[in-house]
């Protein structure tokens, strides 16, 4: 999946689970858990949205706090984002 496409999808999932947060104001590198954009309690919803959007089943081994560091990391870990040339 291309970088742009994966990041758009992650943003769309975040907007669905956090309707009260302006996701456009969050950069791709904003630390999501640290800045409390999401909490660990939101991860289950986020996983279900990512699975639905990608058709992939999340591997339990991916479920560590580091996988949710920021939008770019989520796109890379869960949606197989290919880095831009």
């Amino acid at each position: 999946m291309s970088e742009t496409s994966a990041i758009v999808k992650v943003r769309s999932c975040l907007a669905a689970i956090k309707p009260d947060v302006d996701i456009d104001a969050v950069s791709d590198e904003t630390p999501l858990l640290e800045q409390r954009v999401i909490t660990s309690f939101d991860v289950m919803d986020l996983m279900l949205h990512l699975e639905q959007m990608s058709g992939l089943t999340i591997n339990r081994g991916q479920l560590v706090p580091g996988s949710f560091r920021d939008i770019r990391t989520i796109a890379s870990v869960f949606l197989g984002m290919e880095a831009a040339e």
């Binding site: 909490t39 660990s40 309690f41 991860v43 289950m44 919803d45 996983m47 279900l48 639905q52 089943t57 999340i58 339990r60 479920l63 560590v64 706090p65 949710f68």
Partner: protein
């Protein structure tokens, strides 16, 4: 509320655990399940009262009841795995050997419960639904983290026990699920009793050290945790396995439906009054 002799209390619980050991090897598993039976109390099924529920015939509802039982047992397995790992790494960390001795029983009982839950899921569904939970890291304050852990365990177990107790008594259900719920209920009563008294004991010792900001942070954390626990009762995988179309969108619409909110409020009201009394949850 007068404080109890906590040391004596945990020794008493250890003695009961040793006397009333339930051996999972003696559990009788039927070779196969009756496809016409209920496996989950209909009124507790997450879609009960929704437009989707109204559209299902009885056979489809029973199929959904089986998937909901697998989800309920799966969420228990994942909850108990977390609990066992978190309690185990705190064993014998301080000088309270009576407490650690009881916690060994606690962990042992939770491990045996997983045998019933996984036995059902693997035998009859061929799977356990995946764990999509991420648990937060410790704050670094040992006593506070232990307190938060048991407050969370208490929230989780109070809700589970409401379901266990209801389903153990529900004569409409297949005997195998009634029995699993009954066994879990019997042993969880001790865990609930321990959890309530442990929280009270911690509060008696530390409440004066915790300022209002910390207490409010605890209340906020537990409210979020309570909402998180409830989310696990709604699983699109179960809806899909029950043959419900567009399971993901059904899942998205059902958790905030008025009937679902009412159900959660009723259970919270019945089972979490103790935590409200301790001012660990906001008043209902």
């Amino acid at each position: 509320m007068s404080p109890i002799d906590f040391d004596r209390f945990v020794k008493y619980l250890s003695a009961i655990s040793e006397e009333q050991f339930i051996d999972p090897r003696h559990f009788e598993w039927p070779d196969e399940l009756d496809p016409d039976a209920w496996y989950f109390t209909p009124e507790l099924i997450s879609l009960y009262g929704s437009p989707v529920w109204a559209s299902l015939d009885e056979r489809q509802r029973k199929r959904l009841s089986f998937a909901e039982a697998v989800n309920f047992f799966s969420l228990n397995i994942h909850g108990e795995k977390y609990l066992i790992s978190e309690i185990s790494r705190r064993l014998y960390a301080g000088d309270d050997s009576a407490l650690s001795r009881y916690l060994l029983h606690f962990v042992d009982e939770e491990a045996r419960h997983m045998m019933y839950f996984s036995g059902f899921c693997n035998r009859y569904a061929g799977k356990i639904y995946p764990d999509r939970t991420l648990h937060s890291e410790d704050s670094g304050d040992v006593e506070l983290d232990m307190f938060v852990l048991f407050a969370r365990i208490n929230v989780f177990e109070e809700i589970v026990d409401y379901y266990n107790r209801t389903m153990a008594k529900d004569e409409r259900l297949a005997p195998v699920v009634r029995e699993i719920n009954r066994i879990h209920h019997v042993e969880e009563l001790r865990h609930l009793n321990f959890g309530r008294n442990f929280l009270r004991h911690c509060l008696d010792r530390h409440i004066d050290d915790w300022d209002e900001a910390r207490r409010q942070a605890l209340r906020d954390h537990l409210s979020s945790y309570l909402a998180f626990v409830w989310k696990q009762y709604y699983n699109p995988d179960a809806y899909q396995d029950a043959g419900i179309e567009d399971a993901f969108h059904v899942w998205r619409s059902v958790t905030d439906a008025p009937g679902a909110i009412r159900h959660r409020d009723e259970v919270n009201q019945k089972r979490l009054s103790y935590l409200r009394k301790l001012e660990l949850l906001e008043a209902a």
